[in-house]
């Protein structure tokens, strides 16, 4: 069966979200930095909601150890995550404007790579890289909204994971303490909860609802 037209897809989203929210989602531009357990789930949620412009960035390749929580398939092992995720997003949201980059973000390239995003999502794995991206964006790009994730490892209760608004434009999701670097495993359901918090913070910002 042929896929629906752009107009049919848009109308279906409009029916669920309302015309005003859908117009905002359609014109929004979001960058997802890191496409692991957080980023792959966040990117899918945003594509399904009808975010119009998505920039997805990761330097890693799909590994068998990712499949417990990240949105990749066994037949994608060895592929760059940016490419594998673009393929999946194109199936989910064929009219979304997706730009994918198989590269490592650094303090030097972040201001250029993320210049056109309204909202930047930090979805890295390593704590020092999370801090690097957050500091770099807050120092150099204070006009951007930034949604970061910290603390979702292990199987502690779901309700420890929250969204905090640290400043006017900086949101932080997670429990703040459960550290994968302490050897705690990452479990699909809990990573998904944190990813859900981050994706939902993005959608609320797009909607112009800034409270938490």
């Amino acid at each position: 069966m042929p896929i629906p037209t752009r107009e049919e897809m848009y109308r279906a989203l409009e029916e669920r979200h309302g015309a005003e929210l859908q117009r905002k989602l359609d014109s929004a531009s979001v960058a997802v930095c890191g496409l692991g357990g957080l980023g792959s789930n966040i990117a899918i949620a945003l594509a399904r909601a009808g975010v119009g412009q998505l920039r997805i960035i990761d330097f890693d390749i799909v590994d068998i150890s990712n499949l417990n929580r990240q949105q990749y398939f066994p037949d994608q092992l060895g592929k760059p995550k940016a490419e594998a995720m673009r393929d999946t997003l194109e199936r989910i949201a064929p009219y979304c404007n997706i730009t994918s980059h198989n590269m490592k973000l650094t303090e030097e390239n972040i201001p250029v790579m993320l210049a056109d995003a309204d909202i930047i999502v930090e979805a890295f794995d390593k704590s020092d890289q999370k801090a690097m991206l957050v500091n770099c964006v807050l120092e150099n790009m204070p006009e951007k909204y930034l949604v970061s994730g910290s603390g979702m490892a292990g199987i502690a209760p779901s309700n420890m994971i929250t969204t905090k608004r640290i400043t006017k434009s900086f949101y932080l999701c997670g429990d703040g303490v459960s550290d994968a670097e302490d050897g705690m495993g990452l479990v699909s359901s809990r990573v998904l909860i944190c990813a859900g918090h981050q994706a939902h913070a993005v959608i609320r910002i797009i909607a112009g609802e800034f409270d938490i």
Partner: protein, 64 residues
């Protein structure tokens, strides 16, 4: 008194570096804001906390 992550503490006159060291936190895994303004990492040694400051120390842990 300085409010750090919601808690009033006697850290007036200390630098951000000294505050992080008192809290036993590595400067590599944090973002520090004073009165809603980010403190650039290169200024941790020279930024001095003042009475009435609101400080947020965001600690990053691994996993994603």
């Amino acid at each position: 008194m300085v409010k750090i992550n919601g808690e009033l503490l006697e850290k007036d006159g200390k630098t951000v570096t000294e505050m992080l060291s008192d809290m036993e936190i590595s400067g590599q895994r944090v973002a520090v804001e004073i009165n809603e303004e980010i403190v650039p990492k290169v200024k941790y040694d020279e930024t001095i906390l003042k009475d009435g400051d609101h400080v947020e120390v965001v600690r990053f842990v691994g996993g994603g």
